[in-house]
Symmetry: C2
Subunit: 656 residues, 2 copies
């Protein structure tokens, strides 16, 4: 990502010679334009279109080839179109003009259209209805809604174009941030009416005045269009082509509009931005967004200094470390959680996870500490249960060296393919004190008792890969004073807004998909309230009734008004003593990449107000051969009562 | 494609040091190996797997990283495994060993496994059952079945490995091409039992003796795995990434095995192949296939001369002309037919079709001829109905120049977006004698009468874009002696075998998908019988009852035993006099690329014997607002009676 540049373009007025406009834009090192599709003076009669006249209604599509249109132009929809005009005739004319412009945009294959700011923050019903129709009709077109960060544009009064050719009523509109409805609420109402359609994006207009940091942050949970990228690997002779999912998610379809009027002037006379603006841009740079300047250049008579300033700001962005590079292809990419108990992992999967140096260093530390507590002359029995291809065996061997203790080890593994690797390693790495046991830890019969039992059976939500059940079974061969590494783990959850993830789930259009949790590197989301602990498990559990079913209700308070699309799940674990692992945001282990968060979706998004109480109910349930979660949400006022998701594990369960 | 090289590899015996083997293979300019997954001397007990022993059962997966396995190794399944052994115990042991090897292959993420030739040509039921189970379990693994071109391997007797460690009965198998069951029939029976699963491919072993050319050709309709390729386009600043569907379909997963024993020696002592072999390879080179040598090098002590010979043969392949380049991304790619009457075409679509020089040259010729038949001093009225962005207007203007006739022209177009282009062109290209009419040709009211009415409304199956209905409507403004260009068109159909296309249809797992015709550039298919004419339409139809409904039953005779997966559809048209267009294979217009064939699938594939009669029933039906086809197949003996597809147009229709 570092070294890459951002897309910077320009919002222009109508020009007949678009290629000439583009040439000028390229001269100033910009890459494209938002340009009106029709000339603002092109008068249309009350039917919106004049079919009988012999003159063309816009410039020809032939001024550029279709690749030119697709790669460089976003179509601006006429600002005079008032879809919520009070007069029926004006409204119908506006609708016809709007649809004609959208049809022309589709015809040209431009990637997106920029739509005017909805005039009425709470009453844009016709705008929403016509947008919703257009969005479901246009197959490839994206729709960008122009939304200012605040309605106070610098000097105070809202500057929205009012009226238009066919408009009879010149309505005064009052869009006030203090009235309780912010631009975010206007946007949120519009897209909720359009069922969170993923083709609708916000084109955020940066204003000179900025709202509070919390309100700014909320925009980062808003939909940015994401594309999957693939690269082609070529073998040595250039012939064997392999399709690989590789690059980061690109979401160029979200746009930010930057009026030149918000820029300050530095001592040398060049444009610069306030510290708060700079900080907000640093957040925006985490996403792949197109930036368009609007207005006239106020510094040095050209846009070039503005473009250079944007690249300069972007250049200050942190480079990607190993973890970020590893994660880049997975941002917001939903995966089914592993079922390592039911399925055997593949060589590739082992290979990936074995590379997490932080995790295995922690295990090595934990085992070392545990061994150091044993008498110096004692030969300890160390059992690695679920040894895979041996990374924990190596940790244990290193720990025995560090602690300077004699050990006998057992590596228990049920996957016959991993056993082939272990047996080869025993020979090649001279694991003379290691016995390899090809068996499921729950069924192995032995008279040996372990002093230390080491396992790595945790999932993104802690217990979701059935570590509790496996270790309960394996404690049969743990010495009564024996130690389990890990000895405890806790799951965490937080309500989140992410219309992007919710839409990814919706793609499947099935109940099942909404009742399944997903492992996902959360990216384009907003945390409505900080995560809280859900379930805790400890090992071993001698002399206790063993029951791994659980129920918790957890209350959250919304930091800002928002839409709950589901819950993010995390975990932390105590390996031994003070040696821990965590993917809970508040305490995330530095550089550890073995686990992404888990996402529990909600069937229907729930709007909550600022400070409203959100109650999450969470169950862990089981039968003889499966374990599953059920979840639900209610609000304190009782208005929202989500149906309980996944009853009886009908959609998702983990096999024992 | 030209300049590209083919994938050449080697079938090797078991080696513990696979990287060393690969290094040697790379030295000889080969790219990968088919290598046994387990050592042939690795003895397994009757349960197939010995879980209690402490030694590894195969080389470790760690000898290479997973990328190495995935890119360079195909796993050979042990040849001794006899899944159809007569003795139950031997059969169960064989099954266990087979599944263990397939599991190991999945674990390693090798792209494919090579399976031994089925022992019994008609009685490989257990082979099929276990293959069918494995194929549905293994998510990514491909299965290659080794099938020799003929059972007579050079000197006569079938040389198939018989018996194995756990095998009690040493069965003699008689696999004789003359007995009526050829290797193709053995293969066809196996994959039919596995429901034509697209993960099952044939690994064709070339033999010194070759079967007849017709039988060789049939292999070209067999499943080759296809991958879609995408490329990334970068805009000038390298930031705007566009995902484009571009490259040819790759089907590297089909393999051909080439025993070195089939090579002849040329005068200089180098390996060469017989003329018939060379001809067959030229056919194979049209597909992207992996080639593996087997056996020992018999010339110059190295495989290099064989590899060089293969590249030399491949180099003789024709380069791709403009048409082939255009078509490459679309080979075997199913598309829904256009509905230009209901939907408006996009700028891009017009742009593509306007580039077909052959087609517009023919139109120009036809219009010129028609004008030349008019008196020299007559001003002719030429109407282009469905003018799009004007290519036929340009043809007509050029034709008027060539014929030296005065004309008045009308360009009738219903798409308002295309009308914008036409109106711009009228100004920029000075079409002073052209009037642009923004209207549907079926509803335009005028007193003008055309002497020549020109249209391009034909679809892949001739009438399937409703040219008959449109021109019947438009003939209201055609002079009673007027000429329609085109004046006639005929559809054609042929039964084809293509388990690849059938599987592409099956992906959707819906009745609808099997009752829809697809526009597709047929590639990996075998024509079972030459195409025959189906429906003919002529224009104008003055003084006739107009009824465009049709019914035909057409008989075909199978050239070889084969499986009918559906019908290929084509058309030809008479523009005027002797000026024609055709996509019917027998008369295909040189270099014309505007139309791909159409494919009518069958819900269930139908096996037919050589010379068997195949009857195809075909209907064209209509109501006030739609037109559709229904189709069915029966065999002469009455054994096969396909249900009639698409009754009442329930799955597919064309809107009027």
């Amino acid at each position: 990502m570092s070294g890459e540049r951002i897309f910077v373009g320009l919002e222009t007025s109508f020009s007949h010679d678009l290629p000439a406009t583009l040439d000028k834009v390229y001269e100033d090192k910009m890459s494209g334009v938002v340009a009106p599709l029709f000339h603002p003076r092109f008068k249309r009669d009350d039917h919106g279109v004049s079919d009988t006249r012999d003159g063309p209604q816009s410039r020809s599509d032939l001024v550029m080839d279709s690749r030119g249109w697709t790669s460089s132009v976003v179509g601006g929809i006429s600002k005079w179109i008032n879809l919520d005009a009070g007069c029926l005739r004006a409204r119908l004319a506006a609708e016809k003009a709007f649809k004609q412009e959208v049809a022309w945009a589709s015809h040209l294959s431009v990637p997106a259209v920029l739509l005017p700011t909805p005039r009425h923050h709470t009453n844009s019903s016709n705008y929403a209805r016509i947008l919703n129709q257009s969005v479901t009709q246009a197959q490839y077109l994206q729709f960008w809604i122009r939304i200012p960060l605040t309605y106070h544009l610098g000097t105070g009064a809202p500057k929205l174009p009012v009226g238009g050719p066919g408009l009879q009523h010149n309505e005064e509109v009052s869009l006030d941030d203090d009235s309780g409805t912010s631009p975010w609420e206007a946007w949120s109402a519009l897209r909720a009416k359009c069922e969170y359609n993923p083709k609708i994006h916000v084109a955020l207009e940066i204003t000179a005045d900025l709202p509070s940091s919390k309100k700014l942050k909320r925009w980062l949970g808003e939909p940015v269009r994401v594309r999957l990228f693939f690269i082609l690997l070529r073998s040595s002779d250039g012939d064997m082509l392999i399709l690989c999912f590789v690059s980061t998610m690109h979401c160029r379809s979200q746009a930010v509009l930057i009026p030149t009027s918000i820029f300050l002037t530095n001592r040398k006379g060049y444009p610069t931005l306030s510290q708060r603006h700079q900080k907000f841009f640093a957040e925006l740079f985490r996403f792949n967004i197109q930036y368009y300047f609007s207005g006239r250049p106020r510094h040095r008579g050209s846009f070039l200094p503005y473009v250079q300033y944007m690249h300069f700001l972007y250049g200050k962005k942190d480079g990607m470390d190993a973890k970020a590079l590893f994660e880049a292809p997975y941002l917001d990419y939903l995966q089914a959680p592993l079922q390592p108990l039911m399925d055997n992992l593949e060589s590739q999967t082992y290979e990936t996870f074995e590379q997490d140096a932080f995790k295995y260093n922690q295990y090595e530390k934990a085992i070392t500490k545990a061994l150091q507590q044993t008498p110096e002359d004692k030969e300890s029995v160390v059992m690695v249960v679920g040894a895979g291809r041996g990374p924990l065996v190596r940790c244990a061997l290193r720990a025995a060296m560090l602690a300077d203790r004699k050990t006998r080890m057992f590596a228990v593994e049920k996957n016959p393919n991993a056993v082939i690797t272990l047996r080869n390693l025993k020979i090649s790495e001279r694991w003379d004190n290691v016995t390899i046991i090809a068996s499921d830890m729950r069924h192995w019969k032995t008279n040996e008792k372990a002093d230390i039992m080491v396992s790595e059976l945790l999932g993104s939500f802690g217990d979701n890969e059935l570590s509790p059940e496996c270790l309960d079974g394996a404690q049969a061969f743990l010495h009564e004073n024996g130690i389990s590494i890990p000895c405890a783990y806790t799951s965490y959850a937080a309500p989140i807004m992410s219309s992007k993830l919710w839409n990814e789930v919706k793609v499947h259009e099935s109940l099942k998909s909404f009742e399944t949790p997903y492992v996902v590197r959360l990216h384009n989301m907003y945390t409505i309230a900080e995560s809280k602990a859900v379930f805790t498990f400890t090992h071993p559990k001698f002399n206790q009734r063993i029951d791994n079913r659980r129920y918790e209700e957890i209350s959250f308070h919304a930091q800002e008004s928002a839409v709950v699309h589901g819950f993010a799940g995390y975990f932390d674990a105590v390996l031994f003593d003070d040696v821990t692992l965590s993917i809970n945001p508040a305490t995330h282990s530095d550089g550890m990449f073995s686990w992404f968060p888990i996402f529990f979706p909600l069937r229907d998004p729930v709007s909550v107000s600022k400070d409203e109480e959100i109650k999450m109910q969470f169950w862990r349930l089981s039968t003889n051969n499966r374990v599953w979660y059920e979840w639900a949400l209610s609000t304190d006022d009782g208005k929202h009562q989500m149906p309980i998701h996944n009853p009886n594990g009908r959609s998702y369960w983990i096999g024992l």
